[in-house]
Amino acid sequence: MTGALNLLVALAMGLNLLALGSSRLPSLIRAAAVQGMVLGVLPLLLEHEFHGLVWVVAAATIAIKGFVIPGLLRRALRTAHIDREVEPLLGFIPSLLLGAMAAIGAVAFAGALPLRPEHAGTLLVPGAFATLVGGLLLLMGRSKAIAQVCGYLILENGIYLFGLLLIHATPLIVEAGILLDLTVGVFVIGIIVDRIQREFDTLDTRKLTSLRE
C-alpha cells in the first residue's frame, strides 16, 4: 500500500521537474494534467472502506484536473495565435536545479517536522512541499500567462497532496467544497486569460504592466 503510494507521489515529484524543464507550453500543460490525474488516484489508495463519495471525488478530480482544465488551456493556446515557446524569466537549468533542491529540502524539512508514525514512512509531506515550491517557481519564473496557470495548478496539487494527510479527519463534504472552489478558481482564471488574450492580443504577461506607480 505505502509502496504504491510512495511510487505515485514520487511520480508526481518527477512530473514537477518535467514541468519545470519543459520548454514548450503543450508539454507543460501535459505535465500538469498527468500530475493531476496521478493525484486523483491517491484517495483510492488511502481510503480503507470504499463508499461512493470517494469514487466520485476521485473521478471528479481526474476528470477536471486531467482533462477539463488542460482542455481549457489548450483552447486558449489555440485561439491565441502565438508561438508555443515558454519564454522563461528564470532559465530552465536554474529552474530544474531549484526544483531539485526544493525536493531535497522538502525531504529534509519533512524529516524535521514531527509526523505521525503512519505518515513518517510516506513521501506525502515531502512531496507536497516539493510540488508547492515547484508551482511557485513556475509562477515566478515564467512569463506566459498559461505557464503561470500551470504553475498555479501544480501549486494546488501540492496542497491537495498535503490535504490527503487529513483525508480521514476532514469530512468529505469539506474536501468536495474545497475541490470545487479550486476548480472554479482555475476556470475563472482561464476565462480571464481568454479575455486578456482578446484584449491585448497576447498572453505575454510582460506586456501586462500598465498598472504601476
Binding site: L136, M140, S143, T205, L208, T209, S210, L211, R212, E213
Partner: protein, 649 residues
C-alpha cells in the same frame, strides 16, 4: 452659577451666528459680539474672584462624561479670546466683504464662529479626550480660515504647511494624552503634581504645544500662515491661536510634575525665540511676515517668564518665580492686544493699497491718519516702551530675572544671559518698528497706490481703537489688572494664593500716567510755540541734489542692513546684486530677501530625503506579477523566521 449661564449664552449666540453667517451678516455680527461679550463677562466673573466653575452633566461624548471647567487660568485666556474674537469679527465686516469676496466671505464668517467656539472648548474641557477633539477641530477650522483665498497657490501652500505642522503637533498630543490615560487609567484631567512618574510626559506636551505656540525651531509654519491669511484671521491666529499652545504649557505644567530639564529647556527656548524671532523679523520686507516673526519673539518673552517660574518651582518657589510668571502671563494679554492691533492696522494698509510689500508703501499718515496713529501706538507698545502695556509685562519679567540673579542660585547662570538678551530683544524690536513705522507710514509715498490710499471705514477703525485703548489702559493702570493675573497665577501654583498688588506697580502706574500727561502737554505746548513763532514749509534738505524723488528714501532693507549683517550666520540672506561699475554706470539693482532658514535648510532637506525613500519604495510596485508573488514568498519567509525565532517562544 452665573458663569454657566453666561457661557451657555455665549455658546448659543455663537451657534446662532454660525447658522446666520451665510445669509444675514448683520445678525451674525450681533450674535458674535453678544457671544464675545458673554464670554468676557463669564471670564471676568471668575477672574474677579468668582469661584471655579465646573459642570458635569450626565452626558457622554465618545464614551467619556463631559466635564467642563472654568478656573482662573482658563478664564484668563478666555477673556483674551473674547476680546479679540469680537474685535476681529467686527473688523471683518468691512475688511472681508461679500462684495469683494463673494465666494469666501460667507463661509469665512461661519468658520470664524467655529474657531471661536472650539478654542473656547479647548479652554473649558477638563477631559483629555474632549480636549483633543476641541484642539483638532480648532486647528482644522484655523486651516479653513487661513485658506480663504484658495485660488492663490502660495495661500494653499501656506495653509498646507500650517495643517501639516499642526497635525504633527496633534499627534504628539495624541501620544501625550493616551500615555496619560494609560498611566492614570482615565481621561480625566486635573492636578496631579504629586505623581512624579508622570514627569517625563511633559516632554511630549512641550513638543505638541510648542509646535502650536511657534517657539523657535518649531515656528516654521507660522510666518507664511500669518502672512497669507486674511488680516483679521492673522490677528486672532497670532493673538489667541498660538496662545493656545501657551495655555497648554501653562495648564499642564501646573497640573503635572515638570522635569527640571524641561523647565531649563523652556527658559532657554524662550530666550532663543525672543532674539532670533526679532532678528528674522528685521530681515523681512513683507509687512505681515514681519509681524508674524514678532509673534515668535513675544512667545519667547512669555516662555522666559514661564520657564523661570518652573525653574523656581524646582528650587522651592522663591518669590521671584511669581513675578516672572505674572509677567509672562500678563504678556499673553498684552501681546494678544497689540499684535492684534498691529495686524488689523496692517490689514487696513493692505486693504487700502493692495500690497504687503513695504518698499511699495510710505507716507500713509496723510491718507490714513487713524490707522497710522493706532499702528504707531501698537508699535510703541510691542517695543516695550512706557507708558504702554508691553513695558509693564516685560518689567515684571525683568524684576523676576533680577531677583533670580540676586538669588545667586544656579538659576542666576541662566538669568544673566536672559536679562541681557531680553534687553537686546527690546532694542531690536524698537529698531524693527521704527523701521516699519518710518517706511510704511512716514516719509513720502513710494508708489502711486500708496499715494492714493484711503482711510478705512468705522467697522475697521473702531476695533483698532478699542484694542489701542486697551493697550493704554493696561499700561497706565496695571494694578487694576493685577488681581486677574494673581488669580491665574494662584490657580497655577496654589502656594501663591491671593498675592497683593506689589507696591512698585502703583509707583510705576503713577510714573506712567504723569509721563503720558507731561508728554502730551509738552507736545501741545511746543506745537503752540511753533505756531506762534510762525512756520513756513520747504522741501526736505536734499544736500543740494537737483531732482530728489520719493524712491530715494531709505528702504527697509538698507535700514535693517547693519543688524541683519550681525545675524547673517542664521538669517542666511539671499542677495541678488548688480553693482554699478565703470565711469558711467548703466543700470544696477540690489535685492535681498531673508528665507525661512529652519524650513529651507533643515525641514525641506529632510522632506526630500523621505520623498526619495518613498520614490524608491514605490518603484517596487512596477506591475510585474512574478515579483509580486516573490514579495509574497519573502513575506512568508520573514514571518516564519519571526515566528520561529528563539524556538518560537
Amino acid at each position: 452659577m452665573i458663569p454657566g449661564r453666561l457661557l451657555l449664552l455665549a455658546f448659543l449666540s455663537l451657534i446662532v451666528g454660525l447658522v446666520t453667517a451665510r445669509r444675514a451678516p448683520r445678525l451674525w455680527l450681533a450674535a458674535t459680539l453678544t457671544g464675545a461679550g458673554a464670554a468676557l463677562a463669564a471670564a471676568t466673573g471668575v477672574l474677579a474672584g468668582g469661584e471655579v466653575w465646573e459642570w458635569r452633566p450626565t452626558l457622554a461624548v465618545g464614551g467619556e462624561a463631559v466635564h467642563l471647567r472654568l478656573d482662573a487660568v482658563s478664564a484668563f485666556f478666555l477673556a483674551l479670546l473674547a476680546v479679540l474674537g469680537g474685535a476681529g469679527g467686527a473688523y471683518s465686516r468691512a475688511y472681508w466683504t461679500d462684495a469683494a469676496h463673494p465666494r469666501s466671505a460667507p463661509s469665512g464668517r461661519a468658520w470664524w464662529n467655529a474657531l471661536l467656539a472650539f478654542m473656547g472648548l479647548v479652554l473649558l474641557s477638563a477631559n483629555g479626550l474632549h480636549f483633543l477633539i476641541a484642539w483638532e477641530l480648532f486647528a482644522v477650522s484655523g486651516y479653513f480660515l487661513i485658506t480663504r483665498e484658495r485660488h492663490r497657490r502660495e495661500v494653499r501652500q501656506a495653509g498646507w504647511l500650517y495643517l501639516a505642522a499642526s497635525h504633527a503637533g496633534t499627534l504628539c498630543l495624541f501620544a501625550f494624552f493616551a500615555l496619560l490615560a494609560a498611566r492614570t487609567g482615565s481621561w480625566e484631567l486635573g492636578p496631579m503634581r504629586g505623581r512624579a512618574e508622570l514627569a517625563p510626559l511633559f516632554w511630549l506636551a512641550l513638543a505638541g504645544f510648542g509646535l502650536k505656540a511657534g517657539l523657535f525651531p518649531l515656528h516654521i509654519w507660522l510666518p507664511s500662515a500669518h502672512a497669507n491669511a486674511p488680516s483679521h484671521v492673522s490677528a486672532i491666529l497670532s493673538g489667541v491661536a498660538i496662545k493656545m499652545g501657551i495655555y497648554g504649557l501653562v495648564r499642564f505644567s501646573g497640573w503635572l510634575p515638570v522635569p527640571e530639564a524641561a523647565a531649563w529647556t523652556i527658559a532657554a527656548l524662550g530666550v532663543v525665540s525672543a532674539v532670533l524671532g526679532v532678528a528674522f523679523a528685521l530681515g523681512q520686507h513683507d509687512l505681515k511676515r514681519l509681524l508674524a516673526y514678532h509673534s515668535v519673539e513675544n512667545i519667547g518673552i512669555i516662555l522666559i517668564g514661564l520657564g523661570f517660574a518652573l525653574v523656581a518651582a524646582a528650587h522651592g518657589n522663591p518669590v521671584w518665580a511669581q513675578l516672572a510668571f505674572a509677567g509672562g502671563l500678563l504678556h499673553v494679554w498684552n501681546h494678544g492686544l497689540f499684535k492684534a492691533l498691529l495686524f488689523l492696522g496692517a490689514g487696513s494698509v493692505l486693504h487700502a493699497t493692495g500690497t504687503r510689500e513695504m518698499s511699495k508703501l510710505g507716507g500713509l499718515w496723510r491718507a490714513m491718519p487713524w490707522t497710522a496713529g493706532c499702528f504707531t501706538l501698537g508699535a510703541a507698545a510691542i517695543s516695550g516702551l512706557p507708558p504702554l502695556n508691553g513695558f509693564v509685562s516685560e518689567w515684571l519679567v525683568y524684576l523676576g530675572l533680577f531677583d533670580a540673579v540676586g538669588s545667586r542660585s544656579s538659576a542666576a547662570w541662566v538669568a544673566v544671559p536672559a536679562v541681557v538678551l531680553l534687553a537686546m530683544t527690546g532694542a531690536l524690536a524698537l529698531a524693527c518698528f521704527v523701521k516699519v513705522v518710518g517706511v510704511v507710514f512716514l516719509g513720502l509715498p513710494r508708489t502711486e497706490t500708496a499715494k492714493h490710499a484711503h482711510e478705512s471705514g468705522w467697522f475697521m477703525r473702531v476695533p483698532m481703537l478699542v484694542l489701542a485703548s486697551a493697550c493704554v489702559a493696561i499700561g497706565l493702570f496695571p494694578m487694576f489688572f493685577w488681581p486677574a493675573v494673581a488669580r491665574a497665577a494662584a490657580a497655577w501654583q496654589p502656594a501663591w494664593a491671593d498675592a497683593p498688588v506689589p507696591e512698585p506697580l502703583y509707583a510705576l502706574s503713577a510714573c506712567n500716567i504723569t509721563f503720558a500727561l507731561l508728554g502730551l502737554l509738552a507736545a501741545a505746548l511746543l506745537w503752540r510755540r511753533v505756531r506762534r513763532n510762525g512756520l513756513s514749509r520747504a522741501v526736505t534738505w536734499d544736500c543740494g541734489y537737483a531732482a530728489p524723488s520719493a524712491r530715494m528714501q531709505y528702504t527697509a532693507g538698507s535700514f535693517a542692513g547693519i543688524i541683519t549683517g550681525w545675524f547673517a550666520w542664521i538669517l542666511r540672506p539671499e542677495r541678488h546684486a548688480k553693482l554699478p561699475e565703470g565711469n558711467f554706470p548703466a543700470h544696477a539693482h540690489f535685492a535681498e530677501h531673508t528665507p525661512e532658514t529652519v524650513l529651507e535648510k533643515i525641514v525641506e532637506p529632510t522632506g526630500r530625503l523621505v520623498m526619495a525613500v518613498s520614490t524608491a519604495v514605490r518603484r517596487l510596485q512596477h506591475g510585474r506579477l512574478q515579483s509580486y508573488i516573490l514579495y509574497l514568498l519573502l513575506g512568508l519567509i520573514a514571518l516564519a523566521l519571526l515566528a520561529f525565532a528563539g524556538g518560537g517562544r
